[in-house]
């Protein structure tokens, strides 16, 4: 047998041995990291959410892009006053274990998610600083009371995943049980997670009958897997790997990149210096180069899909000369503008973060700032980003990426701008009262108040250096009919996928 024939034979055998492209109604999803946990109460983490959220465990309400808040396990809800909301639950829903879904399950899920036996990410992220109490009215009706009162409690309930009342409160589950259209079949640690369609689902039967999740940390490999047909969807690939127009979709991923300015330390406590920082950045130069086409220039903390997003604001135009002039003016008034400012970046925060930070540093230096870049891995970076801040710190700016796909700025503004906000570099009475006002309002008034706050932060206080609303890339195999949306950053509803 000559070499060529031998190679041919080998190649043939390989084709045969390649993992079968499965049945026509199965999909393989390739995620960027292995899941540590699969508990529904952790599903606000993006990769956990892409497996669990709305596939296995459903939420009480659901935020749908373009349609607003929609029913999910609750069919309708009303404000009872005094911080209490009444939710009417869907009838005829069963969990994967066969038990019926009722108000007790909701009460248990809320207690578990916000309880102190385990630290659930959903509890810590959305329900910190409030007390939730529940009152089961009947099997299909439940009253939920928040203290302090939350005008957007139904919106908050779009994050609350529901598990059976039998679920242990003091440990994370390794086989999640929910009411969703898919059941959790098996988790081969290090290899894959398998889901299959739930025949007893209350809604329509989905087109995708089974799903296989695999994990690859390298973006080029994820892209290659979809290219070769080994996987159908790679929800998150890098800009430089999105080279195939037929397969690659970009979507606004609800992430905002900004530089948090520390107002407590000179010279950053001077508004002229902060304005100069904003003018020194050539934001447009990043788009279509280091960052993807379609990246939006930011004027505020939350993406355009949130209510109260202020379309009247325009970003600071690139004007290094004016920046220099402002610095000179501040210097004339005795502000020590020559002091070294540390720019703190987070390693691996988003694709090309290092290039972005290097470019920003050079721009600041060109405008006359004495800027020094330091990149830190997440745990160390957190020490700079969140309070308590170090006592003996010098002037600092911290690069961060903030995610708000929930439609309301309340998820962002308190933490980032209130005096007591954990990541707030500012303490301004006016901002504090504006946040409190907007949080307590509803409807058009709420929207207007958020708008005013965005304008104040961007134009008058010049609190931070806002940079970009980011774009994500997904690669989707050609046999699927699926278009990623802003939600693809945090969930991947298999039921929304169909075949061509």
């Amino acid at each position: 047998m000559n070499l060529k024939a031998c190679l041919k034979g080998t190649a043939l055998a390989m084709v045969v041995a390649l993992p079968a492209m499965a049945q026509d109604n199965a999909v393989t999803v390739v995620l960027s990291e292995e899941l540590d946990l699969v508990d529904p109460c952790m599903s606000s983490r993006s990769n956990i959410g892409r497996v669990v959220l709305q596939n296995i465990a459903e939420t009480i309400t659901e935020m749908v892009p373009g349609q607003g808040l929609q029913p999910r396990l609750a069919t309708e809800w009303e404000d009872m006053g005094g911080g209490t909301w009444r939710f009417h639950l869907r009838d005829g829903v069963t969990f994967h274990d066969g038990s019926a879904f009722d108000a007790e399950d909701v009460a248990h899920s809320i207690a578990r998610t916000t309880g102190d036996k385990i630290v659930c990410e959903i509890g810590a992220k959305y329900f910190g600083g409030m007390e939730l109490t529940t009152n089961v009215v009947d099997a299909n009706t439940i009253d939920i009371t928040a203290d302090p009162a939350q005008p957007i409690l139904p919106l908050l309930m779009s994050t609350m995943t529901v598990v059976p009342a039998e679920t242990a409160v003091d440990s994370f589950v390794s086989t999640p049980v929910g009411t969703g259209p898919y059941t959790f079949d098996e988790y081969n640690v290090g290899q894959n997670i398998k889901l299959s369609a739930n025949p007893n689902y209350w809604g329509d039967q989905p087109a995708v009958q089974s799903a296989n999740y695999v994990f690859r940390s390298d973006s080029a490999v994820r892209a290659a897997m979809v290219q070769t047909g080994e996987a159908d969807i790679a929800p998150n690939i890098a800009l430089q790997d999105a080279t195939n127009d037929a397969m690659d979709y970009s979507y606004p991923n609800s992430e905002t990149v900004y530089l948090r300015v520390d107002h407590n330390i000179a010279p950053l406590n001077d508004v002229r210096v902060r304005k100069a920082l904003n003018l020194a950045v050539d934001r447009e130069a990043f788009v279509g180069t280091i960052l993807a086409n379609g990246t939006l220039l930011a004027t505020g903390m939350t993406p355009p899909s949130t209510i109260g997003y202020n379309t009247d604001l325009t970003h600071y135009a690139y004007d290094p000369e004016q920046a220099k002039a402002l610095l000179a003016e501040a210097k004339a008034d005795g502000v020590d503008v020559d002091q070294e400012i540390t720019l703190i970046g987070r390693t691996g925060n988003f694709g090309n973060v290092l290039e972005t930070m290097e470019a920003l540093t050079a721009m600041f230096q060109d405008a006359g700032f004495n800027m020094k870049l330091e990149m830190y891995e997440v745990a160390e970076w957190e020490n700079f980003y969140s309070k308590p801040f170090a006592e003996d710190r010098g002037p600092q700016m911290v690069q961060a990426q903030h995610d708000n796909a929930n439609g309301d700025p309340v998820f962002s503004m308190y933490f980032k701008y209130a005096c007591d906000g954990l990541q707030s570099g500012v303490c301004d009475e006016k901002i504090d009262s504006m946040i409190a006002d907007a949080t307590a309002s509803v409807g058009a008034e709420r929207e207007a108040k958020w708008k005013d706050l965005f304008a104040y932060i961007h134009e008058e206080n010049v609190t931070d250096v806002f940079l970009f609303h980011m774009v994500g890339f997904s690669r989707v195999g050609e046999r699927l009919d699926f278009e990623p949306t802003i939600k693809t950053n945090s969930e991947l509803q298999l039921a929304q996928i169909s075949f061509k």
Partner: protein
């Protein structure tokens, strides 16, 4: 020999204890895991609650005492990240690493000794030049380069092999091929160098002077003596593989212990880091004892 084994086992135990102490305190110095497990918006109370839950509020010596207390009962603690026993998490990954290391090292050893010896025997010849040149290039190319380019060529371009993952035997070819290159280059060089020295040393000369003109016999004779430094380097390379091949595991999505360790230290999942270190260390100690025995077998003059 039994006495020697007992002694070595005891010595390894001491090394292991030293390692545990070192890793425990060093890893704690890298910081508090709390911020990593909670969303950045988490309140100070939930942070406090997390620390309380995982015993991170106690003085470090108390934490160490508790850890050692559990350890003597073979309780390696729970993984914060996986919310599962740390030792289970580690053993699952280690099985993959062990297989990968065994297969790769067997191939490397055989190939490097055969090719290296031939090169040494014909030093300066065409074969020697080609072998040296390519093994050196292979040994000095970044492995993530080779890994990604081989995926681009063999999986995407030619469609011969799966890109990554586990499952069939074909999934193993690319990771092993990439892992093979560097130790092969290194060991080949050492085999060649050592063989050259041995062939030039007095006893080979003597053997030849005595009239032993038969090449194979000289070859075997020399090889046996040239193996000592070679085995040391093989041991070193095998130890590196047992500690996991972080880059290859990362790119090929191979669930080994190397990536687990790095991920765990990034996530400050200390129990897993410690359990992983202990498991790999025991494997490496066992291997080192085998190597010492091999020394004695190859060279009777070495006494223990």
């Amino acid at each position: 020999m039994t006495a020697f084994l007992q002694k070595r086992a005891f010595a390894s135990l001491i090394s292991l204890m030293g390692l545990v102490v070192l890793v425990f305190f060093l890893s704690r110095l890298t910081g508090d895991p709390t911020t990593l497990y909670l969303p950045v918006d988490a309140s100070l109370e939930s942070r406090e609650q997390f620390r309380e839950l995982h015993g991170l509020n106690d003085p470090i010596l108390v934490q160490f005492g508790r850890y050692v207390g559990d350890l003597v009962q073979f309780d390696f603690g729970m993984s914060i990240r996986r919310s599962a026993p740390a030792i289970d998490v580690v053993l699952q990954a280690f099985v993959w690493t062990l297989q990968l290391a065994l297969i790769t090292m067997t191939l490397v050893t055989v190939a490097a000794i055969v090719i290296g010896s031939i090169a040494a025997f014909h030093i300066g010849g065409v074969f020697d030049r080609i072998a040296t040149f390519f093994s050196l290039i292979g040994a000095s190319a970044p492995d993530f380069w080779i890994a990604i380019i081989s995926i681009v060529i063999f999986s995407v371009g030619l469609g011969w092999l799966p890109t990554s993952g586990t499952g069939t035997v074909w999934h193993w070819i690319l990771p092993i091929a990439v892992l093979f290159i560097r130790p092969f280059g290194l060991i080949l060089q050492v085999v060649r160098g050592s063989m050259v020295s041995t062939l030039s040393s007095a006893y080979v000369k003597t053997a030849r002077a005595k009239g032993l003109r038969n090449k194979p016999i000289i070859f075997v004779h020399a090889l046996r003596n040239a193996m000592l430094p070679v085995i040391t380097v093989i041991g070193d390379q095998a130890a590196a593989l047992l500690n996991g091949a972080v880059v290859v595991e990362t790119i090929f999505g191979f669930p080994g212990v190397g990536k687990l360790m790095i991920d765990s230290i990034l996530q400050r999942d200390f129990t897993v880091v410690l359990a992983a270190i202990m498991v790999t260390a025991v494997a490496i100690f066992v291997m080192n004892i085998l190597i010492d025995i091999l020394y004695a077998v190859l060279d009777p003059r070495i006494r223990y």
